[in-house]
Symmetry: C2
Subunit: 711 residues, 2 copies
Amino acid sequence: MDFSSFVTSLGTSLIIFVLLMLLFTWLARKPGNAVIYYPNRILMGLDPLEGRTLTRNPLAWIKEAVKASEADVIAAAGVDATVYLVFLSSVLLPVAATDNGTQSTTDSNSHGTFKNLDKLTMGHVQVQSSRLWAFLLGVYWVSFVTYYVLWKSYTHVSDLRARAKSSAVVKPEEFAVLVRDIPAAPPGQSMKDHVDSYFRALHPETFYKSMVVTDNKKANKIWEETEGYRKKLARAEVVYAGSKTTGKPEGTRPTNRTGFLGLVGPKVDTIDHCNEKIQELLPKLEAEHKITLKEKQQGAALVFFSSKPAAVSASQTIHAQKIDTWTLMEAPEPRQVLWTNLPKKFYEREIRSLIVYGIVFLTVCFFMIPITFVSAFTTLENLKKYLPFLKKIVDQPEIKTVLEAYLPQIALIVFMALLPAFLVFLSKEEGIPSESHAVRAASGKYFYFIVFNVFLGVTIGGTLFGSLKEIIKKPKDIITLLGSSLPKSATFFVTYVALKFFVGYGLELSRLVPLIIFHLKKKFLCKTEAEVKEAWAPGDFGYATRFPNDMLIITIVLCYSVIAPIIIPFGVVYFGLGWLVARNQALKVYVPRYESNGRMWPHMHARIVAALIVYQITMLGYIGILREFPYATLLIPVIVISFIFAYVCKQRFYLAFFHTPLEVACQGTKEIPNMESIYSAYIPPCLSTEKHEDVDRFEDAHSHSLRTTSL
Amino acid sequence: MDFSSFVTSLGTSLIIFVLLMLLFTWLARKPGNAVIYYPNRILMGLDPLEGRTLTRNPLAWIKEAVKASEADVIAAAGVDATVYLVFLSSVLLPVAATDNGTQSTTDSNSHGTFKNLDKLTMGHVQVQSSRLWAFLLGVYWVSFVTYYVLWKSYTHVSDLRARAKSSAVVKPEEFAVLVRDIPAAPPGQSMKDHVDSYFRALHPETFYKSMVVTDNKKANKIWEETEGYRKKLARAEVVYAGSKTTGKPEGTRPTNRTGFLGLVGPKVDTIDHCNEKIQELLPKLEAEHKITLKEKQQGAALVFFSSKPAAVSASQTIHAQKIDTWTLMEAPEPRQVLWTNLPKKFYEREIRSLIVYGIVFLTVCFFMIPITFVSAFTTLENLKKYLPFLKKIVDQPEIKTVLEAYLPQIALIVFMALLPAFLVFLSKEEGIPSESHAVRAASGKYFYFIVFNVFLGVTIGGTLFGSLKEIIKKPKDIITLLGSSLPKSATFFVTYVALKFFVGYGLELSRLVPLIIFHLKKKFLCKTEAEVKEAWAPGDFGYATRFPNDMLIITIVLCYSVIAPIIIPFGVVYFGLGWLVARNQALKVYVPRYESNGRMWPHMHARIVAALIVYQITMLGYIGILREFPYATLLIPVIVISFIFAYVCKQRFYLAFFHTPLEVACQGTKEIPNMESIYSAYIPPCLSTEKHEDVDRFEDAHSHSLRTTSL
């Protein structure tokens, strides 16, 4: 694509961004929108505008985002969000470093007019030019900056995690251990007694209680039905109250039909109907509780200990002589337990994840094709060729340029949008016990997908149609291929990145979509307070997609940094701006759905290193094979170093993210917490009874507390 | 080699064996030899001949070996020896199974005269003969028998281990944990206090004491010197006493020269001289003790807990947030601790083992060459060609045949004899903390070595000189190569196995070499009781070499079983006889140097499975490629199954051999043992003081015991 369309693309992006920013400043000042722009503060019961003068300055939010301390972020959005910010800031530096790394070459390239963008790329650097030394050094410089930053960040995050885990606040999961693969109870003994006797024998001093996982499908169904009627009732009452006007003080009782979608069937008084329904459902639920707790106990349990260190060392100690039974792990937070996965057996889980990875593999390969087509066909020439009826529209210059600039990128983004939900679903099918773990797994899969399809897909695919022969000639040596393909698709990615951050962050910040949805809902649907609240519930950072997307950008920027240095400033802006926006959203908008204390970091770290290695290999191939630079072999050591670095980091830090070190568990509060509340935190909603004295009802299903629980 | 020489080889072996057996029966009955044939019983203070009538029956020992129960073996030779016997018996069955597996083919081959041994091999089975179905089924049959037996054995050994570990006998190592990679102590604090405060904080209830590892080089030197003089003194006194004859009641006091080797320097009265020396050394030792314990503390320690479960779960729990510091593991037995390795740091160990494996790799490759030469050159034709002066001798028929039969095997055995010590040395250099672990590591290396060099070396090497071209043509597909080479070197291995068991076991059983050495020593060297005892000290099974050698035989027998069924009976005899002999030696002769409770088993298991897979692949190559049997692909599933089997076994059993399961640790004695004696069991001899009240002297270096130690 030619230079003008490139500039147009950037221009349009920039304009959109500015508009969105202004919109944001304007909308954010309307008190009615506070729930959209400061939901997180509101939910924490803070005054959304506290300490904030209603300035017209559209950049005020930046000042706030910058001056907020890490402690504030942790307080507002939890450790995970903080770690995500660490991630953004710690890739920012290497990306910036690439700039210095290639300064010399950019200088030497950037003089002269910008007729053709590819001037900016390395495509025209002479073969064996001694200027290639600069590139070599560039690679080393970037690598070592990355090592340094990553090491610092890993230490920092590891400390963050430790501090969070050793905080004085009592967290139920720190006193619980998840036990799976429990062998069948001996005849005549309930699973519950089985578990109790086993753990009481092995932890006589510290065992407090156990809660056997039960099959709650039926109970859940009844419970949801009840809740449904409760909502309906509340709604009906509001409507009724609303209908009591001065002119008509007795009001009109709302009615509905009992049949399908309330369209057919006899007409009934909604309030009475709901009340009846609830009245008949409650005893049912009661009964179902009893049955579930008594007869639907399954081969997994949560075991509670009377101290953090006890729980921690129990979770790390092999209990059974047959390792594939009585497998223990630290319990996930109550809010993120995936109950239905807990009873899945060891080998079933193994097989399931095998199958899932098979499916993912197929998906990755299968998606390769459409993306390749898109990147090859979505040029105007092709469009006109294949969709002649578009000719008229397309031929108008302004539309033409815009289309030219955006067509491929938009196609790509649409593709990307389809996947995440599917991947999360797959990950859950693996038998993973917690939400955060599933999201982690999904983001891993998404990362593979995105790197293969977008990065390789577009890079090689772009040339695939241009030079199919040469690939068939030498399909193996990906290095050469990568090296030779990169310059060609450089401009594509520059615009891709630009689009991502200008439009992407603009929308993110201004929250236009949620705002509109909220107002519509509020106007036409929501009657009760609860419904309104639901309508503006902000949700959390979608790590499963957000982080892999950033990873894609890192990979792109690193790999193109030397070949097309112009991408570097875009990379810098992407992560700089990204950091600001994410910080703002963390402080004011998003509400974490769970807290994994930065468990995500090792994966982020590993993938950054992976991206670095891809970068190094690409350079090796590019400088060595395509520019026939004899000294390119000097890049091999740095690749080796990258692997050593990865290994050492794993050895030093990883396990502390997998298990809790005793050192950490022993810090923080020593006083004995209220074990009963810890225990009942894990009672699933469908089995929970509003009043807590009633907790003894769970005796059958759950545990006979011990006389002494104090250490 | 032709059939006659083959038979001769077997014949001679058999004769040697019979002779040795008779010799054994005769010698074993002389009371003077009891210390050679029943040392283990004597050391345990049993009557060597108890319950044994001095029969002339040369097979009496077999009856005894068979009727002894497993409990007897454990009592006499420990769990390791028992596990080794389980290993022998559990390979016996699959090997025997190969027989049935290939019955059909042997039948079809074995009729007719034995002009040419290769008749017996599969070399002449027609291409694509439908008889190949029998081989296919054979492979499946053997595989499944192996799976079954291995599963049973693994379960059995796992139980053996559990029983041993949960026995009521108090073992010091069960209350201790080895701590390495201890970070430098804060300034002004001794390493000792550092360790104490750390563990007292994390295990307030169960921490008993710690013993910081010290650098004992100097102390050791002095101590050994002292011991030397003690021995000398004892010896001199015996000599003196002996010189007191009736004719010369005052006797002659022995003298020696103080100079080099007692050959030069002034003449002194040995007894007085030694006494003086000891008197001057003792205070020196005292002083050195103090210095060592105070100033030579290093970054490793043994930490003692007041209960088994506490020690076990501590050893499995991550303590430090930085995983490469404060690394814990279960303490090895006092007698097998490799003290100098303990303070080696984490990454140092990693690097060391990298280097060691590099060296091993080189050794394996480097040895390949000589062995290949040997197996190719040691045929009489070659000998005569290259060493014409031998012609005369070699041409005499009887020598000729014997030489022909043995030359290659002997060469091989000599090669094998050089290595083990070297490998054990290498393994210790890796920084491994215990003797048994080092032996395990060495046997692993030895296994690679032996499989590569003997098995592949001879198999391929044998043809290497015959058909160098075809290998250069297709160096890659080892499968074809193996398949095609096997039949040619079959006869070599048959005789190799025969030699191994007839002569090898004959010598093992009759213990001729140790017997002769003992009698010589006794006659000319030993003066004191201690010296005599040293002279007949039996030592233990040399697992480092014994087990890999057996593994080699398994590999050979399995791989040749279908191609040259005649090897099967030899294999069966090898393991059957081996089991008997080993049992006899375990019951009467060997004294274990250490006890690792069958820690070796997982390695044995893994390697048997590996051998099985080699066998399956060889068959695939042989039947498929060389016999062009289209259905050979039906062997691929069974190979996959083998891998799955290996995986499942690892998941189910392995960790219980690596860590002690809590379940196991909690069984056995509950009463609190004498912690002081447990603690002092680890005091190295050079630092130990004869009288135990004196243990407080170790306060500086070792630990301030706590007030309360009871759980």
